[in-house]
Amino acid sequence: MANTTNTNYGNQMLSSRIGRGFRQLMGDSSGVMTFIGLILLSLFVLMAIFAPYISPYSPVEPSGAPLLSPQWGHIMGTTNLGYDVFSRFIWGSRMALLIAVIATSIAAFIGIPTGLLVGYAGGVTDRIVTMIMDSVYTFPGLILAIAIAAMLGPGVLNISLSIAVVYIPTYYRVIRSQVSTIKSELYVEGARSIGAKNMTIIGKYILPNVLPSTIVVLSMNIADAVMTEAGLSFLGLGIPPPVPDWGYDLAKGQQFLLQNDWWMVVFPGIAIILLVLGFSMFAEGMDEYLNPNIGEKR
């Protein structure tokens, strides 16, 4: 079969655990799961793209009295500064997706080629690089991101970078372990026997075979990046206000929770949960779809 290597994407990624839980819950209907995930994702993506057109107010200017509870005109209420929570809900998806995508791209861009090359080369290089990657991997993700973010200072690119560093080892590990199995496959030996260059072998015989699992890691990773980003802004290490950001809103809203102004916390929280869920379900569904060796008997 095409991809029978049992991939473990690591338990470090919370999203992977969420997704797996859902898979158990839904049983065999992975198609439904992928579909729901996809719908959630497209909703958020559309929201991010068309934010200027669908948000009723500007997210960075007061649009009513402060701390209005959800009501007609402000369906999610207003913040302590009188910003419309619904508008910030919509605009927040931009920041969340943007940073998650940039961070994940950086991580993939570094992690995948490193995994490919090192896995293929093997030997001492492999042992050294794997040791470095493993030591990063064992570090608690959020704490590492906090440290780097504090060092680099605020800014979209800096935040992305600090999140990316956390996830490079994830790619590296998944890709490397797959490459080291695939490189001993007969078709790779076959490629060598027809005189293919190493780069050709990596590009045409190994990469296509690890790509499916890369897609899975990628979408799981974005989900985790969304959470990490929210975590960073929650701690005040993210994008400086007043740029709409769910993590920041969550932190702000927390201060007013005691006086029963729940809407400032609940809505950004729901946004984060739904987006993460969307990516996780999509990833897990894809995983099952791309590894069709479940329930099949030869």
């Binding site: 079969m1 095409a2 991809n3 496959e185 007969l186 078709y187 030996e189 076959g190 490629a191 060598r192 026997s193 027809i194 005189g195 293919a196 260059k197 050709t200 045409k204 015989y205 296509p208 075979n209 790509l211």
Partner: protein, 333 residues
């Protein structure tokens, strides 16, 4: 024709392949000599142009390693591999890569030897691309005509299929097509029919014979199946524990196997005839580990004819009645 058949295409001289064993470094410090697996232990043979030499033996005999070392998918420990009078074992990496279009390999498992993500048309034309032979249009034409030759018809339809859409027999046809697409002179076929179903096995064997005649190929046919070897091989070399124990013409070998091991191997093949009740010599035990090779003749631990000399002195591969055999029974000294 007469002249060309006598020409030697491949000549293997004193080939050895020892795999060092992995041991903990604490032990490595204490031991002067690292233990090795002697997969191939000093073998020599020739293959003439247009000939098919069978390499027969049990698993652990070193036959598969031999096939891979000859086309240098594995580096030999020592010895010479003269292909068309050039020593393959001395070629630089780049020269070896270029030379690969002249010798190809057919693998045992047709399920595993094709890239699952590459369409089979591309798989077969890839060697041409790698060696920069022809234009894209010419390559495609060549592949299509090859598909017809190996009976993957309609060729145009097969061209765009993926391996998973093919049956085992069809995949092996693809593997064969890929092996011959660069017009090689020599092909190592490693258990090419072992994984196939009985009714398909003979088909593929026939295809290999036909394509060999067609393209003037030379084969090294590695197999554990003496019955299949009988149909395709001109000569057969029997391997045991890294050594060749007998080389003979196929007809001679089947008429009268000389080496006791060959006899046992031949007697062990089940014959599809329930009436035949053979008296069989069933040897004791199993093939010993190639780490601790028995002294003297390697087969003496299992040989029903073993005498004292067999455990002391290693018999050489000597000529006996026009064939080569390594056994003290036939050693005139």
């Amino acid at each position: 024709m007469q002249v060309s058949t006598k020409q030697v295409l491949l000549s293997v001289e004193n080939l050895k392949k020892y795999f060092p064993l992995k041991i903990p470094w604490t032990q490595a410090l204490l031991k002067r000599e690292r233990p090795t697996v002697k997969a191939i232990d000093d073998i020599s043979f020739n293959i003439k142009k247009g000939e098919t030499l069978g390499l027969v033996g049990e698993s652990g005999s070193g036959k598969t390693t031999t096939g891979r070392v000859i086309i240098r998918l594995i580096e030999p420990t020592s010895g010479r591999i003269l292909f068309d009078k050039k020593d393959i074992s001395k070629l630089s990496k780049e020269n070896l890569r270029r030379a690969r279009k002249d010798f190809q390999m057919i693998f045992q498992d047709p399920m595993a030897s094709l890239n699952p993500y590459m369409r089979i048309g591309k798989t077969v034309s890839h060697p041409l691309e790698i060696h920069k032979i022809g234009t894209p249009a010419e390559r495609k034409e060549k592949v299509l005509s090859l598909f017809e030759k190996v009976n993957l018809i309609p060729a145009k339809e097969f061209f765009n299929r993926f391996p998973r859409q093919l049956s085992g027999g069809q995949r092996q046809r693809v593997v064969i097509a890929r092996a011959v697409v660069t017009n090689p002179k020599f092909i190592v076929a490693d258990e090419a029919t072992a994984m196939l179903d009985v009714s398909v096995r003979s088909q593929i064997l026939k295809l290999m014979i036909d394509i060999k005649e067609d393209l003037g190929l030379t084969y090294l046919f590695i197999t554990h199946d003496l019955a299949s070897a009988k149909y395709i091989c001109d000569r057969i070399a029997v391997m045991y524990l890294g050594k060749i124990v007998e080389i003979a013409k196929t007809s001679d070998l089947f008429k009268e196997p000389l080496h006791p091991y060959t006899r046992i191997l031949m007697g062990a093949v089940p014959i599809p005839d329930p009436k035949l009740k053979r008296s069989k010599i069933i040897p004791k035990g199993e093939i010993p580990s190639p780490i601790n090779v028995p002294s003297g003749c390697r087969f003496h631990t299992r040989c029903p004819y073993a005498t004292k000399i067999c455990s002391e002195e290693e018999p050489e591969l000597v000529e006996h009645q026009g064939r080569l055999v390594a056994c003290h029974l036939f050693d005139k000294k």
